[in-house]
């Protein structure tokens, strides 16, 4: 038996650990296009902010590969899969034979295609390499940054740059920040909080071109309006890294498609993490839920099934958490009501209050008596239990519904009765 894991981030790492839990002998080969042991992409902005050293990005101890008896091959970008002969090949012509293969090469950051997007101070922020390069620019004394995009990575980047003392302007093409994660009210609260801490926002604004000859000079947002900048970070979302797998016979939709055992349509080949299209059990549709907890869970289950267990993956769930300058926000599942749903049996219970000068906001989304999602800002202690309720998908009695207004744990205890 020979396992090959392509990608050593969240999904790959958890798959490896799960396989080793069951099988201590077989060969495990880990192929990664990068040059680093498993590190946390989610922590990159913490590093940029100067909150943690680069060494803390690594997820496991230095002896991890030796202890688990792994063969890790760095700089191996898999470009060809020969499923008839069970062989993977890398761009530089090396090849490996597999008995079971996991494709966990994640996602790629979307780039802008506007004039000037190839200047040296224009970055996306996905890999440790991006982070180290941006850090270099900061150490050279960059003062003004423009962040293009209003999503999670953009705002975490903007927060990090602000913490490093830069003047930061965020350009958001829509009318709301964090529109995938939060409803409009929660987004307003977060935006106001970020503004009070020195970030500048321009909503409904598109970057039209990045100016400068050999270095970034500014960003053009209207024919006559240019904003000065030494550094531009582009956060326009990610896309599954599945494009290069076209032509090898895989079913590819929004991402690599899998069955409920996380096996692709080609036998002995599994997929997990941000590359994978999975069933979102709250939204009730196939989609790519590219977040950390989904990736690790998929990785673990794919690993178990590669070993030969028959574990069913029940589906993924949109789930996010942010914390900016002491104000945290979390959301799960469906975070806002669509207009067409408002007519049916959907409803929301919204609540906003101030406590010690900080806003506490919560919005629970219901379909009938079933909790389908929520947004919390400020007090997030109840979040875990609410997430469990969203996952359970069971209708709640009125008494149980009342419990959702309580503090930590009362809900958990109330549900035990």
């Amino acid at each position: 038996m020979s396992y090959i894991i392509v990608g050593n981030s969240a999904a790959g790492l958890f798959a490896i650990e799960e396989i080793r839990r069951h099988d201590t002998k077989s060969e495990i080969i880990v192929l990664t296009a990068e040059q680093e042991p498993s590190y946390s992409r989610c922590l990159i902005t913490y590093f940029l902010a100067g909150e943690i050293p680069a060494s803390q990005l690594y997820l496991r101890d230095v002896d991890f590969a030796a202890r688990l008896n792994l063969t890790v091959v760095y700089g191996a970008e898999v470009t060809e899969i020969d499923s008839a002969h069970q062989i993977v090949r890398s761009a530089d012509g090396r090849e490996w034979h597999y008995s079971k293969l996991l494709l966990a090469m994640g996602a790629l950051a979307n780039k802008l295609s506007i004039l000037g997007d190839d200047l040296p101070e224009v970055f996306t922020l996905r890999t440790m390499r991006d982070a180290l390069a941006i850090n270099n620019i900061l150490e050279q004394g960059a003062r003004k940054a423009i962040v293009i995009g209003g999503g999670l990575v953009s705002l975490k980047s903007a927060y990090a740059l602000r913490k490093r003392g830069l003047e930061v302007t965020v350009l958001v093409s829509s009318g709301q920040i964090l529109s995938q994660m939060l409803d409009a009210k929660a987004a307003d609260i977060i935006q106001e909080h970020l503004r009070a801490n020195g970030l500048r926002f321009l909503l409904e604004t598109e970057a039209q071109a990045i100016t400068g000859q050999n270095h970034v000079q500014g960003v053009l947002i209207a024919p006559e309006t240019e904003l000065d900048a030494d550094l531009v970070i582009v956060g326009k979302g990610v896309r599954p890294n599945s494009e290069k797998l076209r032509g090898f016979g895989f079913n590819i939709g929004l991402g690599l498609q899998v069955d409920s055992y996380l096996e692709t349509n080609i036998s002995n080949i599994y997929a997990a993490g941000d590359i994978t299209e999975t069933w979102d059990f709250v939204r009730q549709k196939f989609t790519v839920n590219a977040t950390w907890p989904n990736a690790t869970t998929q990785g673990r289950i794919a690993g178990a099934n590669m070993y030969g267990r028959q574990e069913v993956y029940l589906g993924s769930l949109g789930l996010n958490s942010v914390d900016f300058f002491g104000l945290s926000a979390m959301s799960a599942g469906i975070t806002k009501l669509l207009k067409k749903e408002a007519h049916e049996d959907w409803s929301q219970t919204e609540n906003l209050k101030m406590l010690g000068g900080l806003p506490i906001y919560r919005n629970l989304i219901w379909q009938g008596d079933v909790l389908k999602g929520f947004v919390l800002v400020g007090d997030t202690s109840q979040c875990g239990v609410l997430t469990a309720l969203v996952k359970a998908g069971q209708p709640l009695t009125q008494t149980q519904k009342n419990l959702t207004k309580g503090k930590r744990g009362t809900l958990a205890v109330g549900m035990m009765k």
């Binding site: 969240a10 496991r60 950390w292 958490s321 997030t380 009362t410």
Partner: protein, 164 residues
Amino acid sequence: MRQILVRSEYCLGCKSCELACAVAHSTSKTLFEAINEPMPPQKRVFVESSGGLNFPLQCRQCLDSPCVHACMSGAMQFDRATGLIQVDEHKCVGCLMCVMVCPFGVIAELPDTHRVAKCDRCQDLDYDPACVAACPTKALEFVEVREFAHSGRQTFLDQMKGVN
């Protein structure tokens, strides 16, 4: 392996366990000094009440470990030495993803350091969990599951006396 198990019918909701837990995780390990420590110690057990039910909740060491899966810094991990899910305070960055997925709501935020803390079963201390030692009604027990089940059967038999 011994587990922290609860007889909720004995729990009066006195919160002695909460106090003992905080003290056990203080620097000084004594109540009077602990309240004056610059960083007040954080309890990792939470006595909750709902109607007539009181229950001391702490980390249940879930087998499917949603907190470990959610942890993006590698701080929350299954610790091979103790056989428990433990959180490494030095690796934690305070992203609160674990808080978000814990179905029991028993991961606490340390407000001063913006890290998280949860029940470690007093691993650093050389005695039984402080909450168990402090419980005046023995609602909390630190026992092997089979012993707990055995005493449950014994209780059942005792209650049956006089019925037959």
